[in-house]
């Protein structure tokens, strides 16, 4: 069986396992929607009261948030359990991925789905549609194509960063807190246009923990705001490249980490 076919088979089983708890599904969706609504409303109040945030209007800020959320929704649907890698290692359940005749990576990725990503996707799509019509956008085919690429890139950026940080636990046994740190930086970029922050922070989220490529940079291209970064306009097109590089680096890190693995004997 090819890796892809195996992955989809595993995902189907994971969805079936999840669907046993329907009430859980409903409350979870409501919880996530409430979180998103309060967040957007708060930022919305700020932007409306001060007419704009550093030159970003209300709907542009909504656009930024929802662009991030859409990439994030795919991450949370399919890769959320990456953050829980340490549990697999500590409890010894990671062993089962190694003794089966298939790639441990595919077996690990296909282990679980997190249905709550559905709520993020619903909210993201609604928010983007509203922003699209309120900003009176008329995208051509290139922009639509880039939009799709930016979302996939966003998913890959968040997934690879999470997985790389999770791999720390092969050495230290713990990584979730380090991942929370990444999430916090990510959240700041998601809530506000990152050009409001100081120089050091902007360099970090562009070059070191490149979460600004999940929404800020592609939005510059999609909303025709390239002049905001002057001679660095080309960064606006770089999301797919950044994602591609991160996938490469992550596969090396994963291989090194696997070589390092010794079972906890669980």
């Amino acid at each position: 069986m090819s890796a892809m076919a195996l992955y989809f088979r595993l995902i189907r089983v994971a969805i079936q396992a999840r669907m046993q708890y329907r009430a859980d599904f409903l409350t979870g969706i409501i919880g996530v929607i409430v979180m998103n609504v309060t967040t957007v409303t708060l930022i919305g109040i700020l932007v409306t009261r001060f007419s704009h945030l550093n030159g970003w209007s209300l709907w542009e800020v909504v656009f930024l948030y929802c662009l991030w959320l859409l990439g994030h929704s795919l991450f949370s649907l399919f890769f959320w359990h990456v953050r829980a890698l340490e549990d697999y290692l500590v409890e010894g359940t990671f062993d089962q991925f190694l003794i089966r005749p298939a790639s441990p990576f595919i077996l690990f990725l296909g282990r679980e789905v997190q249905y709550l990503g559905v709520a993020d996707a619903i909210f993201g799509i609604s928010g983007l549609s509203l922003a699209y019509s309120n900003l009176d956008l008329h995208w051509n085919a290139t922009k639509w194509l880039f939009f799709g690429a930016a979302i996939i890139a966003g998913t890959l950026i968040e997934s690879t960063l999470s997985l790389m940080i999770a791999c720390i636990s092969f050495w230290t046994g713990r990584s979730r807190r380090a991942n929370n740190l990444m999430m916090q930086i990510n959240t700041m970029v998601q809530y506000y246009p990152m050009d409001i922050f100081g120089y050091v922070f902007r360099v970090i989220v562009t070059g070191f923990i490149p979460v600004a490529f999940m929404n800020y940079y592609p939005a510059l291209m999609l909303l025709d705001k390239l002049d905001r970064v002057g001679s660095l306009w080309w960064l606006a097109y770089m999301s797919p490249v950044v994602a591609f590089l991160l996938v490469g680096i992550t596969s090396v890190v994963w291989r090194l980490a696997l070589r390092r693995y010794s079972s906890s004997g669980g």
Binding site: G31, L46, L181, F197
Partner: protein, 262 residues
């Protein structure tokens, strides 16, 4: 009283076991304060002195919001839920201390942990971000009283949420919505005087502002003079209501409690 403090100490020790977590948490609080500092700085460059508050006051409000978030951050509802789920709650009920008071002691211990997590960030903000101290000793005292009342209000709300775990077993998802609503209507990030009239009217009735907006507004001098007493009265009335309903709810939940396995 001695028993009370022993439970407080226990919760403190439990929460401070993982030193790495401790440092990460301190750094996270740093980051949140840094973030909110830039938000207000940019907005106040656009509109200096907006809404009768200057930038220094507003940055102080924002940073305090981040500090209080970690200070009042309590896991008492999680503790109750996990004890109910595992059945270990029966040992809690056998302890020589009223369960409600026991949880209060726990929560206090966690708040002391929260305080020590927030302190480095506050010191940093004082020296680097230009956060100010209360204008005079009277304000400081009023702030402290208000903070204690705010803690008691949020503790009892959390306790009631924890009591619900007896019925539903899983409060994880309810907690997400609950936390968002507490912070939203509490004015933790955006002060209530910026809210549109309808939302402001709702927020002004709800108890959540007791935990964030009231102490923070007293601190920066937005609530001053006779208004301070009115605000403290508001907090006190909510506290009384919540203490009574907590007792009632817990008595009822306790009777319905079914210990699984145990």
């Amino acid at each position: 009283m001695k028993i009370f403090w022993s439970f407080t100490r226990q919760a403190f020790q439990f929460a401070s076991v993982y030193r790495f977590n401790f440092f990460v948490e301190i750094f996270l609080t740093f980051l949140r304060m840094y973030g909110i500092y830039w938000v207000w700085r940019i907005l106040y460059t656009q509109k200096p002195g907006a809404f009768g508050v200057d930038m220094k006051q507003m940055v102080t409000y924002g940073v305090l919001g981040m500090a209080l978030q970690i200070l009042v951050w309590s896991r008492v509802q999680w503790y109750m839920a996990s004890q109910v789920k595992s059945g270990a709650i029966d040992t809690d009920l056998m302890k020589p201390l009223d369960f409600h008071i026991h949880m209060l002691a726990r929560s206090l211990g966690e708040t002391i942990v929260g305080g020590s997590l927030a302190l480095p960030g506050l010191i940093f903000s004082f020296f680097v971000l230009g956060v100010s101290l209360p204008a005079d000793p009277g304000t400081a005292v009023a702030f402290f009283i208000s903070l204690v009342l705010g803690f008691l209000v949020i503790f009892h709300l959390n306790f009631m949420l924890g009591s619900l775990a007896v019925l539903t077993l899983d409060i994880r998802h309810i907690s997400w919505a609950y936390n968002s609503i507490v912070r939203f209507f509490g004015g933790q990030l955006v002060p209530l005087w910026l809210f549109p009239p309808t939302l402001a009217a709702i927020a002004n009735i709800l108890p959540f502002q007791s935990t964030f907006a009231i102490p923070m507004s007293i601190y920066i001098g937005k609530i001053a003079g006779a208004d301070i007493f009115r605000a403290l009265g508001f907090q006190l009335s909510w506290m009384v209501v919540l203490v009574l309903s907590s007792r009632l709810l817990w008595t009822w939940a306790h009777r319905r409690l079914v210990v699984q396995g145990g």
